[in-house]
């Protein structure tokens, strides 16, 4: 994410998002629609629950032998004439890809939507090297024109209204375009068709890679994924190491649930199984195929507390149900991946310090874990991140004092017993009827928008003696 955004504290970024009426409306419409589509898809898919368990079991089994499966994948790809590159860091990945682009003599590269390339800030690096990256996924194309980053894992421009898109196209393309999605799409189609045909290199991500066969799998809807992997001379796929699956039989388990979780479709319009460079005798296809395997914090988590998040299919279902995401949208999070899984991925890539505020951007309601097709227990890991933030003294000193004070009171009944009378004394100036409408200092954060019940004139513990006498022994 841009450093400029991170200079503002998270709470302020969230507040700004809440005050943006366009964003609020866009978020409500989009997330509600996604939720409905997913629910309907699984409602008519009774095998879905069992498949989710199976998918999770496959991810776990793969992780337990990840080295073997990756080795197998590498061998399979190289057997078909493809090349594999190894990127431990984001910087390394950028260097590898820019290098490949230079060697390919690429002036333009066309890109199919890839969160992995967003993660490593690839576009900036290409531009810096004098190479023009062209985003071809409609949502990515829109935000590229706007100079923004994606605000949702699968629908990058979901925060924009059609009016905003029309304004953008008119400004950037130098001709008036009406605020009609059909028209806007036609414009994008025409603009990008030429780019597909001219670009020397295509860059994609990969939803899966099949170890047994060396197949890279792209799940898309627009057709740009197919263009990017068929028309340019060189195809580069960037993929996190955790995306490998053992066999075609495993792949199909994931295909059966991925699109349903993301958009409610049984399958996306195009599931493309790329077998490497063009075999001899075929008219079309890239001459060169390169897979860039990306670590960027993943390998450290295989044996780490965020291990479960390596099962993520990047479907976005958790974003759509998250009460926080639904209110603040993706940009407020400040990093490449927003929403519940985004907090975990950010910690994976940038360390626990990076999420000292984001780890608390959750009411721990559990809707994410419920929606996740591979049943990732996101709340558990958010609590673990909070623990790390506390353990490493990243949390502010005042906060730690408050909680330690609370802990001390809760383990000393004598202190605790004094708590209620003390609170009753302090609250007296503020109580109206049974409610408190205003409190000073930190507690004002509650009373700014909500009343608070007054501490009872007698706690339950204080009433128990007479209550216990009510029960008449027989």
């Amino acid at each position: 994410m841009s450093d400029g955004a991170l200079a503002t504290p998270f709470r302020a970024r969230a507040e700004a998002a809440l005050r943006d009426p366009f964003l609020q409306e866009a978020l409500t419409i989009a997330t509600t629609k996604f939720i409905t589509l997913r629910r309907e898809a699984f409602a008519e898919f009774p095998e879905g629950e069992a498949l989710r368990d199976r998918a999770r079991a496959i991810k776990e089994a793969t992780l337990q032998h990840l080295d073997q499966y990756l080795e197998q994948l590498i061998t399979s790809i190289e057997a078909r004439g493809g090349h594999v590159h190894y990127a431990t860091t984001a910087a390394e990945a950028r260097t590898i890809i820019v290098d490949l682009a230079r060697r390919a003599g690429a002036r333009t590269v066309v890109k199919s939507k890839s969160m992995a390339t967003e993660e490593i800030d690839l576009n900036e690096a290409l531009i810096h090297a004098g190479i023009t990256p062209v985003e071809t996924d409609l949502g990515e194309y829109i935000i590229q024109l706007a100079g923004e980053r994606p605000s949702h894992i699968i629908a990058p421009a979901i925060h924009k209204t059609k009016g905003q898109v029309a304004e953008l196209f008119t400004r950037e393309l130098g001709r008036a375009v009406p605020a009609d999605p059909e028209e806007l799409t036609r414009v994008a189609r025409a603009e990008l068709r030429e780019k597909f045909l001219q670009a020397e290199m295509g860059i994609t991500g990969a939803n899966f890679a099949v170890a047994d066969t060396g197949t890279i799998v792209l799940v898309t809807n627009e057709g740009n994924g197919r263009m990017v992997t068929s028309l340019p001379r060189v195809h580069v796929a960037v993929m996190g190491v955790e995306k490998v699956v053992p066999s075609m039989s495993d792949l199909v388990v994931f295909l059966a649930i991925l699109a349903k979780s993301a958009t409610g479709q049984k399958l996306s319009a195009y599931t493309t199984l790329v077998q490497g460079p063009r075999p001899a005798g075929e008219l079309e296809g890239p001459e060169e195929f390169h897979l860039v395997l990306l670590d960027n914090g993943r390998i450290d988590q295989i044996g780490g507390p965020l291990r479960e998040s390596l099962a993520c299919l990047r479907c976005g279902a958790c974003l759509n149900v998250c009460p926080v995401y639904r209110q603040i949208g993706g940009h407020a999070y400040g990093y490449t991946y927003p929403g519940p899984i985004g907090i975990l991925l950010t910690a994976m890539q940038h360390g626990p310090e990076s999420v000292k505020d984001l780890a608390h951007a959750s009411s721990l309601c559990g809707a994410c874990a419920e929606a996740c097709p591979v049943r990732i227990d996101i709340p558990r890991m958010l609590i673990e991140l909070r623990r790390q933030v506390d353990e490493r003294r990243i949390a502010p000193r005042e906060e730690r004092l408050i909680f330690r004070g609370l802990a001390a009171t809760l383990t000393r009944p004598a202190w605790y017993r004094l708590g209620a009378p003390f609170a009753r004394l302090l609250q007296r100036p503020f109580v109206r009827g049974r409610m408190i409408r205003r409190l000073p200092l930190f507690l004002g954060r509650w009373t700014h928008t909500r009343d608070l019940p007054a501490v009872a004139s007698r706690t339950f513990t204080e009433r128990w003696p007479e209550l216990s006498r009510e029960a008449t022994p027989r």
Binding site: G366, L410, R463, A471
Partner: protein, 246 residues
Amino acid sequence: MTPPLRAALMITCLGDVFYPEVGVSIVRLLRRLGVAVDFPAGQTCCGLPLFNSGYHREAAAVARRTAALFRDADHVVVPSGSCAWMVKHEYPGLLPDEPARTQVRALASRTYELSQFLVHVLGRTEFTGATRSRVTYHDSCHLLRGLHEAQTPRMILQRLAGVELVELPGSDECCGFGGSFSVRLPEVSTAILDKKLANIEATGADCVVACDAGCLMQIGGGLSRRGSRVRAVHLAELLDTGERAS
């Protein structure tokens, strides 16, 4: 004569301090149903606020103390789904050393949120209440997703004489409390709450029922601030006929 069923009430910190009348209603209700109610002395908190904010060493100390207080209970009844969840799901992991671990596992299996106790242990779904109202029900997150319970409160409310239950749209959506979340990110918490309040008021209900003190504080606090005529009540309050056991 068979000895009466015994249950120990875990009042919870929020219940003790802010909603003691809920505890009173529960005690009277259980006694009317023939349950002998104990109240182990010295209760403070289940430790969830510490746990959720990542202070696990401290949460473990509180958990150890609280678990010890309920060691001899046949059944533990909890008015809040979140506290029941804490005991059942997190206590074993927080106290891995023996003999505590075995003890808390046993405790976990004997701990129930109130509506679950009424329906699954006492086998009761029909109650008389003291109110004639239109009510709607909010699923608190830990009861719904932590304890996987959407039915027991609804079963009781549906059969409660004098009460008309209307389904709350988005009943399974969070109210925005989330413990410290409500004051760490008060603007977001309030925005989430506003959505919940709009749904509640749209049902035309006289009151919204929840089985969690945190939700009641958040929802009740919001309703009160906007001067709504809708009340936020705990399930136990609707089941309180005002009678004492005799």
